[in-house]
């Protein structure tokens, strides 16, 4: 019935929505930033632990749609073990992919995150996918406050 939506709602997204990874409060987090999308009410708190410039742990709390939950869940998995610079690079690539400006974007270069490429076709949903990464960006820049997609 929802054949048109297969690109947007891939099985991986349903899976992460049902069973979000790293969904927990982090004790003694080095960074803790809140992300908020006032348009839809999505709210998340992102926690990071750092060793030097390496992200050793990432977790989150909050509520949002399937796209935003899957996005933040995937992100917490992927950034673990990455340096801050590597994470920022990923953010840049993710942003390029979801805003769809580059038609020749190489989906293989972004690995697992490619499952979220479908939002390109749904401008109203791009912010759902990028909220987590904007929050990470703020956390890495040590902005200890809430950030908003607006």
């Amino acid at each position: 019935m929802f054949d048109d939506l297969r690109d947007l709602y891939q099985e991986v997204i349903f899976d992460h929505n049902r069973n979000p990874r790293n969904f927990r409060v982090m004790e003694n987090a080095h960074r803790q930033v809140e992300g908020f999308n006032p348009l839809c009410g999505d709210r998340l708190t992102l926690y990071l632990k750092l060793d030097g410039d390496v992200i050793t742990d990432a977790s989150f709390q909050g509520s949002g749609c399937a796209i935003s939950t899957a996005s933040v869940s995937l992100m917490t998995e992927i950034v673990k073990g990455k340096t801050e610079q590597e994470a920022e690079e990923l953010f840049k690539k993710f942003h390029e992919m979801t805003t769809g400006k580059d038609e020749n974007f190489n989906l293989e270069a972004i690995g697992k995150l490619a499952v979220l490429a479908g939002v390109r076709e749904y401008p109203a949903r791009v912010k759902c996918a990028t909220l987590s990464w904007h929050t990470l960006d703020a956390a890495l820049k040590n902005e200890q406050k809430s950030i908003s997609t607006e």
Binding site: M1, L5, G41, G64, C65, I67, R125
Partner: protein
């Protein structure tokens, strides 16, 4: 419902024949804005093709004709809400501007530090923020009358809020997020017993029921044209003549003046005192055409048909496991706000859109209402006179299927 000319009405709205993602459009976002009948579209095409010029200015033929159509629309609005005079009908951009106008003219003149303004817990942001701004400017205090979990105003609590500091009551006639129709006659009588004027935000109520401002005895009534099957950019502020006469103008400019020198300006009479600058001429004439169209069907018949639609939709949702209706007031207009267990309204909105169904997902410019129900957002299907029970079936099938997919 027998006798309701639903097929003819649907044929009058060209957009209803559109396909969305290869499916017939099921338009259920009418509380956000309504679609336009051919008669309204034609009125604008006719105006720009044959009649258009500026109003209230030229002595030339087209200006006189445009002015005639424009002022004719004012008379239609006056009759539609049964105002006593055309002087009481002010054209603005929408309900939002009308409330801001009252806050910044009536409010600034009459409201002093320590005074109180009462609204309700179910207001749209447009009936909250203008009063917060006024309170900031004047030192007045905003009081909020609470509601119960059904989304009904707690009338005794409202009554208790009224005291000798209360200067204005501003309440929504029908809630956009919940569908609640407030007991406005009782609210007005109670406030008037203490000499307090009442503004009704009629943005949602106006397309769904007969509104008689003299019978209600409200002091101000505001609504937007685009929710009444008319073009965007038009709205109406109704005010009792004596109140409007005593209010200072809102914006300065052309049309709202009688005489200008560099030393002083003499303001124009009602309603022009509040209509600075060239108005939305085509929009207002389109509003007149929308009112003619609605009168041809009859607001009482529309209300009866929509009540059937709401009852049908409500009954069908009861069969869907995990669906919770937000807003179950006894007196309710044709709005169905709901949440699904573990499925976010935005996912619902995207999923239904892929089936050609347009609903709203979000906070509906009523964040305090969302906070009250402890939900970030709701999905909202809002009905108009051109919707059908078959469309409600399409909606329900869509909801059941997406619940399955999300499992």
């Amino acid at each position: 419902m027998t006798n309701f000319p639903i097929e003819k009405i649907r044929a009058d709205f060209p957009i209803l024949a559109e396909k969305i993602r290869n499916k017939p459009l099921v338009y259920l976002d009418n509380a956000a804005t309504c679609q336009k009948p051919q008669a309204v579209i034609d009125s604008i095409v006719h105006l720009y093709s044959h009649v258009y010029a500026n109003v209230h200015r030229g002595v030339h033929t087209l200006s006189v004709r445009s002015t005639g159509l424009f002022e004719g629309a004012r008379t239609k609005v006056k009759d539609f809400i049964n105002a006593a005079s055309e002087k009481e009908i002010i054209f603005v951009r929408g309900a939002t501007e009308a409330i801001n106008l009252v806050a910044q003219t009536y409010g600034k003149t009459n409201i002093k530090p320590g005074d109180e303004i009462i609204i309700t817990a179910m207001e749209h942001h447009s009936n909250i923020v203008p009063w917060q701004m006024l309170c900031e400017q004047t030192g007045a205090v905003l009081q909020v009358a609470p509601m119960n979990l059904l989304g009904e105003l707690l009338f005794d609590q409202f009554e208790k809020l009224i005291n000798d500091k209360t200067r204005l009551v501003s309440v929504v006639h029908m809630s956009n997020a919940l569908g609640t129709i407030n007991p406005v006659k009782k609210i007005i009588a109670t406030a008037h017993a203490q000499g307090i004027p009442v503004l009704l935000d009629g943005a949602q109520a106006i397309p769904h029921m007969t509104v008689d401002v003299q019978d209600l005895d409200c002091d101000f009534y505001v609504f937007s044209g685009h929710k009444l099957y008319a073009p965007t950019g038009t709205g109406v502020l109704y005010g009792k003549q004596a109140l409007l006469e005593a209010m200072p103008p809102y914006q300065g400019g052309g049309d709202m003046i009688r005489k200008v020198t560099f030393e002083e300006t003499e303001y124009n009479v009602l309603p022009y005192k509040f209509e600075a600058g060239t108005p939305d001429i085509a929009g207002v004439i389109g509003l007149g055409a929308a009112i003619d169209y609605l009168n041809g069907i009859g607001m009482d018949k529309i209300a009866a048909y929509e009540a059937e639609l709401l009852a049908d939709a409500t009954e069908k949702t009861h069969k869907i496991k995990g669906l919770l209706i937000i807003g179950e007031a006894e007196h309710k207009g044709a709005i169905l706000s709901f949440v699904l267990d573990k499925i976010h309204p935005h996912d619902i909105g995207t999923m239904l859109d892929s089936l050609g169904i347009a609903i709203r997902a979000g906070h509906h410019c009523a964040m305090p209402v969302m906070d009250f129900y402890k939900v970030p957002a709701t999905a909202r299907a809002s009905f108009a006179m051109y919707n059908t029970k078959e469309e409600i079936d399409v909606l329900m099938n869509g909801i059941e299927s997406l619940i399955e997919v999300f499992g």
